[in-house]
């Protein structure tokens, strides 16, 4: 048995094969800490958290996890915290490592056999940010250490490479995969199953939330909930001010991504000479907004994309595609 694991900024998704089926486990990557001030408050809060997903820490505080953390944060007009930031373990959050370790152990579970194979995804080095906060190898080491502790033989692959394995079978694993996560946009150019160019940009769904939050004065969590509720089309005006801002910033994000892609691939030494126009496959939570794929295609043409495009297609299962690709990679290794 092998497993695939998508360790994302907004979602952690585990995939495992069950005969001719794939079982997915989805976890919303968020937490919210409530520190009671008195023993009476502790009892009242614990009663109020009945049926919610939470853990109790040694200092008496309650750590809500997943969707319940976001709901509670919105209820209190605050923002839920995340153990990950822009695709890697957050250095800004003091509790990030401990909480990520706990979540991963709970979602993945102990290995069913000794050294069971698991492939997890990591982001590529960004082309638009250079600072010490972004340390992919440290993030990779943390995830590997956690998985090793629960009995796995863990290997990592690039997030967009995993997407190509899940979606490019019909084109002999030749084309481009773009994984639009919450924290980052990862890109992989693949030729016959070999990743030739991989890179990322640090602006994606969270950037839209943050900018829309600044424009409307609403907390990020509220913007995120409204955005995920749908009811807007990218680039079109909306009566709801939050969704109007989200729609505008989405268009700017797509334009930025298309320009970065075109710039990064123009004259790239490792870029293969494709014989035929290529397939571009898009996945990830951020790509689920109505009009995302069409707008990306339009902006790529406008920004003089250096390769001929056959089609820009959306994954059939944008939230699970990367985890599926990781599972395929794990099965190839096993």
């Amino acid at each position: 048995m092998s497993k695939g694991l998508d360790v994302g900024t907004s979602f952690i998704v585990l995939s495992e094969q069950d005969g001719k089926k794939i079982k997915y486990k989805d976890f919303r990557d968020a937490f919210y800490i409530i520190k009671p001030s008195t023993p009476i408050a502790t009892k009242m809060i614990e009663k109020g958290l009945n049926n919610k997903i939470f853990v109790k820490d040694t200092d008496g505080s309650f750590i809500l996890l997943g969707k319940d953390a976001i709901e509670k944060a919105v209820e209190r007009n605050e923002t839920a915290r995340r153990p990950m930031y822009r695709g890697v373990v957050s250095v800004k959050e003091k509790d990030a490592k401990k909480i990520l370790a706990y979540i991963l152990k709970e979602v993945v579970g102990k290995a069913s056999e000794e050294n069971e194979k698991i492939v997890f995804c990591i982001p590529a080095q960004p082309v638009d940010q250079e600072d010490d906060d972004f340390d992919v190898s440290y993030h990779e080491d943390i995830v590997k250490t956690i998985l090793l502790e629960i009995g796995y033989d863990a290997k990592s692959i690039n997030e967009a490479e995993a997407l190509c394995y899940a979606e490019l079978e019909n084109t002999d694993y030749t084309g481009i995969g773009i994984s639009c996560g919450a924290g980052m946009t990862n890109v992989c150019v693949m030729l016959n199953g070999e990743p030739t160019v991989v890179f990322s940009t640090t602006k994606s769904g969270d950037w839209v939330d943050r900018m829309a939050s600044v424009a409307t004065g609403e907390p990020d969590s509220v913007v995120q909930v409204e955005k995920e509720g749908g009811g807007f089309k990218i680039g079109e005006p909306n009566d709801n001010p939050v969704l109007g801002a989200v729609s505008t910033y989405y268009e700017r994000l797509i334009e930025y991504t298309a320009k970065q892609l075109s710039f990064a691939l123009s004259d790239h030494k490792s870029l293969p000479k494709f014989k035929h126009p290529i397939t571009i496959v898009v996945a990830g939570g951020t790509s689920q907004a109505i009009g995302y794929v069409e707008k990306l295609h339009e902006k790529l043409i406008e920004s003089n994309f250096p390769l001929q495009i056959d089609v820009v297609k959306h994954s059939d299962d944008p939230l699970h595609a990367v985890a599926k690709g990781c599972l395929i990679a794990a099965s190839v290794l096993g």
């Binding site: 001719k20 079982k23 939470f54 853990v55 709970e106 979602v107 079978e169 694993y173 699970h320």
Partner: protein
């Protein structure tokens, strides 16, 4: 006669001036540059280490302790099952990668 003498003296004066300027340039400007070149060469030689050894500054992962967190739920994640057979993808990739 007078004009010829004057021209002779003028040429002599020009020659002496050019000679003095030549000595000045040779002593102060060219020799300084030569000295400077020597210094920078030496400095460069000093900067090149004989055996370049790097120290591994990669951040280490220390113990990540999750003990003491008391679980208060039944299931942490949402489960979905999909009818998808990945065996053809796996075989195709195995063949392609040799």
């Amino acid at each position: 006669m007078y004009i010829e003498l004057l021209l002779f003296l003028l040429i002599c004066w020009i020659q002496i001036t050019v000679f003095i300027v030549g000595i000045y340039i040779g002593k102060n400007i060219i020799s300084n540059n030569i000295e400077n070149t020597n210094i920078s060469t030496v400095k460069k030689e000093k900067n090149i280490p004989k055996n370049h050894i790097n120290i591994d500054e990669k951040k280490v992962v220390l113990d990540i302790n999750t003990k003491g967190l008391e679980k208060k739920y039944d299931s942490i994640a949402e489960e979905t099952i999909q009818e998808t057979d990945i065996s053809t993808s796996v075989n195709k990739l195995k063949n392609m990668k040799g």
